[in-house]
């Protein structure tokens, strides 16, 4: 009623969302977490960012990067730049997305020929005329002689039982934890949206079959199912497996929701108008029904990310976590619990970081829910 008339749906969402201080804080904290995780090699590394020695300037940190990090660091800013300049650059800005994709793929192929350095030098101890070390001058896998020491200027969050810097491990572990939350939800969304859309659009027996399938999946406690699948499989528990298993057991909520939205929207006349014009099923689903269900889908996905991160930590605790090069926050916490009596920092710091991240996702989800649910609007 008091809304400005000339705002689009997404602007209206943004306005309602940004009224919620907790949600807004959560949103920025998540963005911050992703930025920190992306920049982890520049923030926690035993390679210097800039090093001047023997009259030569070098950037050792760049040599420590993995190929995948190179790709990321080049592609993301590049894509952003192209997208930002799409109006002056291209005659048809609508095609901007396509051009971004082409450029990114070309860069990917080019980078495939770049050989990674296998650089194990440690700039922290190497002499130099000038060197700028990262904020945390430790690599996540590197052991210092001081095991189990508390927080100090040298080790901001203390060290673990083998002398590894906890702060560096938290920072690098962010990538694993954030990726698990994100990717597993993308998988869950894909499966859930597909099944939900089919059930809600075609109804009748399709709906009947899919609803039974959803019910079957919901009868299995997901933690139990995941444990069994991982426990009975012989494969190494790599990150992909964990993500896939969390995603493939966690799609039922989304499916129910999308089904409900499709049933509701199907009763309105705009999809029927499209059908009367001769639009095919795919067009009605993708252009009319799905975009109008996006809000609630986004809400469940956001909550889903939070619960996936929690779920992964439970798996780590039970000893069925992944064997990733960098540990997840869940791994750090469960490693640290054996020393909880005297080395509180081992659980406290990763615990707080994980807590804040999960809460941020939940507040964003809650804020989105209040913003998208028309039934909750104050009359």
């Amino acid at each position: 009623m008091n809304a400005p008339v000339d705002e689009s749906y997404s602007q209206r969402l943004a306005r309602r969302f940004s009224r919620d201080a907790l949600a807004l804080t959560g949103f920025w904290l998540i963005i911050l977490a992703f930025v920190l995780a992306a920049l982890a090699p520049f923030l926690a590394n035993n390679h210097a960012i800039v090093r001047v020695a023997d009259g030569q300037i070098s950037f050792p940190v760049l040599r420590s990067l993995e190929p995948i990090e190179w790709r990321f660091l080049i592609n993301v800013p590049l894509a952003g730049l192209i997208y930002a300049l799409r109006r002056p650059l291209f005659r048809n800005p609508q095609r901007g997305g396509l051009i971004v994709a082409v450029v990114v793929i070309v860069v990917q192929i080019a980078l495939a020929f770049v050989q990674p350095y296998n650089d194990v030098t440690n700039d922290r101890t190497r002499p130099a005329t000038f060197k700028l070390m990262p904020l945390i001058a430790w690599s996540p896998l590197e052991s210092s002689p001081d095991a189990l020491v508390g927080p100090s200027w040298n080790h901001l969050c203390g060290t673990d039982s083998t002398g590894r810097d906890v702060a560096a491990r938290i920072l690098h572990g962010a990538r694993t934890s954030l990726a698990i939350g994100f990717v597993s939800q993308v998988i869950a969304l894909g499966v859930g949206v597909t099944f939900g859309a089919l059930a809600g659009y075609y109804r009748r027996w399709v709906d009947m079959v899919i609803c039974r399938f959803i019910e079957v999946m919901e009868c299995f406690p997901s933690l139990l199912l995941i444990l069994v699948i991982i426990g009975l499989s012989d494969s190494q528990n790599n990150m992909i497996v964990i993500m896939a298993v969390i995603g493939l057991t966690g799609w039922t909520g989304t499916a129910r929701l999308v089904r409900g939205e499709f049933l509701r929207l199907g009763g309105q006349s705009f999809p029927q108008a499209a059908q009367a014009l001769g639009a095919g099923d795919l067009r009605v689903i993708l252009r009319h029904l799905l975009p109008n269900s996006l809000g609630p889908i986004l809400v469940t996905a956001t909550f889903g990310v939070a619960s996936a991160i929690l779920l992964e930590s439970s798996l780590s605790f039970l000893g069925f976590g992944m064997q990733a090069p960098t540990p997840s926050w869940g791994d750090l916490i469960s490693e640290g619990r054996r020393f909880i009596d005297f080395a509180w920092w081992l659980v406290f710091f990763p615990g707080v970081v994980m807590l804040v991240t999960i809460m941020s996702y939940n507040f964003v989800g809650e804020g989105l829910r209040d913003a998208v649910d028309p039934r909750l609007q104050v009359k």
């Binding site: 499209a274 059908q275 014009l277 001769g278 639009a279 975009p291």
Partner: protein, 268 residues
Amino acid sequence: MPASTDAAPILEVEHLKVYFPILGGVFRHQVGEVKAVDDVSFTVQRGETVGLVGESGSGKTTLGRAIIRLNEPTAGVIKYEGKVISDLSARAFWPYRKKIQIIFQDPYNSLNPRLSIFEIVGEALEIHFPQMSRADRRERVAGLLKQVGLQPEHLDRYPHEFSGGQRQRIGIARALAVGPEFIVCDEPVSALDVSVQAQIVNLLQDLQEELGLTYLFIAHDLAVVEHISDHVLVMNQGKIVEAASAEAIYENPQHEYTRKLLAAVPKL
């Protein structure tokens, strides 16, 4: 019946039935059926308006939707320009979607809130004239908007920026986009204020004159139907209880239900 019946009718409906199953019992088997449209026959001449009036649940909307195949007929025949269209497959019916169009009742949920007016009206062109360039489409949509009394500047706005009457105009533009001959108007003015209702009714009449359109005009308001129609069909419980010219319905109602309906209309 009309005096000049020498021309072939554009639409013939013969013994049309649309039944919906009532599922019940433990096994959700069919325990009965709703006879939404029950053995209905009528014809529509090119260029005229046939009004279809009835109370809620009379089956008038189902009948209108059956003609444009949003509901599947259970039995009976619908002929368009003499050809049977009621038993065509979805693919075979497709060309007829350019000829037969529909305008919906509720101006608030008949437009996709996430699409701009250009996208909503242009979708019809995208579907039926895929070879048309975007620029041509924009030009055509702008022309359609002008035709229904909106500004070409409205092209890139979204439905929620428009009033109920303006939305109904957009719905009319969408139906007109494919260049139809026959339009099912499903209670197009029922949700509108009386002043807006008059504007839309006038617009529909102007368009009919200009484009030679044929209307099946569905409404529950007898006065509006009498005003716009050449012929009126009165529907009750799935059946047409009376069919007559608009004047005759009021002057000389034959069926008891029609009289009851007339008596219920408050007089100014």
